[in-house]
Amino acid sequence: MRRLLFWLLCASAICMTAPAHALDQYLQIAQIALAPDGARVELRLIPGVQVADRVFALIDVDGDGQISSAEEQAYARRVLQDVALEVDGRRAPLALTGIQFPSRREMNEGVGAIRLDLAAEAALGAAGEHQLSFRNDHLPELGVYLVNALVPTTSEIKISGQARDPFQREMRLRFHGAPEDTRGLWPWTGALMLCLCLALFFSQWKRLRQYLRRCMEIRNHIV
């Protein structure tokens, strides 16, 4: 009886939540973080109540009502095939660095987020202008997309432009790489030049003193 009551409450919660939140779509949120050594993409996939069964069936391939670790990995690989990252026109292969799946109950309630952490190695901090594009083609018939770039946590990368398609399935970023090595070189070059000048000055001090003395003698002679 208690169990029945629990499921009735769950069902009523779902029914009541549906009008409160658009749950007939598969919200797919991507956040891109650029670092000198590569890009990291945090993907959160949140199936709404009305599409949760459909998404669940794609994950639970053996249909036993449970999501096994192997099924999680398989679904993550499928998503990985549907997303693409390019740096300066060349494909940068994304690797899976983290997986987190919600419970069946959370998915049924439309609040379960599948979180996939992806990363690609690339020399984004290399000096000069660069372009990065990210595209998500996962279940476009259900998908509603959000894609954003996070402000880089290093001054070696500065984003100068961003563009998206009208549905936010694709994002293109323009950014400038300025490695600390290059940017730090000028002050040190200046300091080195100054040291060289001082070294030259002191090494030639005797001759300079003689020259100045002669100048003074000529001046005194004229006066």
Partner: protein
């Protein structure tokens, strides 16, 4: 001559080596600076006569109305993970902790309202009440969805993190479906970020009066976008749809690349409109703290951005974002089922300070 060449070469080598080492050290230091949080703010101790003093007194008065079990239920450690446990989702889908409004007696409700009244502005408290009443409307609406424990004014929770104090940090958390008030108090300073005022229905009737909890936000935003000239609008309007908050609940500590038109390109009248719009979020807080926050936002206006997505005709549903060094506001009408369009009657908003959420710059790390 030979000796001189050797000495010069050795000196050059030593200089280059020293330069290289110093450059590496500087590089490490630069990285630390870039990833470091904003510098801490000075904490001024509060007096009993100022806003913090009145809020502390109201919080202590509320605690006095509770028995031991009630006090245990409402109290959390200041640094507990309760701090980030808030959401726009309804109770039943997202579990909240603290004292449930529906479980409070008359004296306790009055004390809670006095606490919120001391901490928030008059219009802020009104907004909170309107959001709660909107949820009650959702519960009792005759469209066949009401009647359960999920929606309704009873489903709002109060939590106090840390002991109410004039000197030590503490926090008031009040929220439920479509509402999260997170107020951190450290001495004289009051910080309202992150907070989430939202609404569904966004327009309803109460005692035959039309209520729009986020009506001014909507109207002032449309007034602002229509006050921009064509070139400014071209920069402000994003060529893509935004159907949800980018940095809503669960997105603490993130900052996205700004977009839209830079406020430095706006004229004085347009800037005034923007500040007036921003005050709809900042002004939820008591007048004393809101005035200080507004001054900070005004000082940062040259580095602030305004972005818009959607139609600009008043009465339509559109997303907008205001982002500055110490400010992040989003207003996001939600997608309607099936149609794919945005629903003006279901709105999420978020108010953050990327440098000072939960009073991060005031609290000793």
């Amino acid at each position: 001559m030979k000796r001189k060449i050797v000495i010069t070469a050795l000196s050059l080598f030593a200089l280059l080596s020293a330069g290289w080492v110093l450059r590496l050290a500087a590089k490490q230091q630069t990285r630390k600076i870039n990833t470091a949080p904003a510098p801490p703010l000075r904490v001024e101790p509060a007096k009993e006569s100022d806003v913090t003093g009145k809020t502390v007194a109201a919080a202590r008065a509320l605690l006095a109305t509770l028995d031991d079990a009630g006090r245990a239920k409402v109290s959390f450690a200041f640094n507990s993970d309760q701090k980030s446990k808030w959401s726009n989702l309804p109770v039943g889908i997202y579990k909240r902790n603290g004292l449930r409004w529906g479980d409070l007696g008359a004296a306790q409700r009055e004390a809670t309202l006095k606490l919120l009244g001391a901490a928030l502005s008059k219009q802020g408290l009104q907004k909170v009440k309107e959001i709660m009443e909107g949820d009650e409307t959702l519960r009792t609406s005759d469209s066949g969805r009401g009647g359960g424990p999920i929606f309704g004014r009873d489903e709002y929770y109060l939590a106090l993190l840390g002991a109410p104090s004039l000197t030590e940090p503490w926090m008031i958390q009040f929220g439920g479906h479509h509402l999260a008030i997170n107020l951190t108090i450290v001495g004289k300073s009051n910080v309202l970020t992150p907070s989430l005022p939202a609404a569904q229905p966004a327009t309803y009737k109460l005692n035959s009066e039309t209520v729009r909890p986020l009506g001014r936000e909507n109207d002032k935003a449309f007034a602002l976008i229509n006050a921009l000239d064509a070139a400014q609008q071209k920069q402000a309007i994003l060529p893509y749809q935004v159907s949800e908050l980018v940095l809503g609940a669960g997105e603490d500590g993130k900052t996205i690349e700004p977009e839209g038109v830079k406020v430095s390109a706006l004229n004085a009248a347009q800037k005034e409109k923007l500040l007036d719009l921003v005050n709809e979020w900042v002004g939820i807080l008591n007048d004393e703290a809101a005035t200080a926050k507004n001054a900070e936002i005004k000082a940062n206006l040259p580095d602030t951005w305004f972005a818009w997505s959607g139609p600009t005709t008043q009465g339509s549903a559109a997303y907008f974002r205001i982002q500055g060094p110490t400010l992040f506001i989003e207003y996001s009408p939600q997608r309607m089922r099936g149609s794919g369009g945005l629903d003006l009657n279901h709105i999420h908003t978020i108010y953050r300070d990327p440098t000072n959420d939960y009073g991060a710059r005031l609290v000793k790390r």
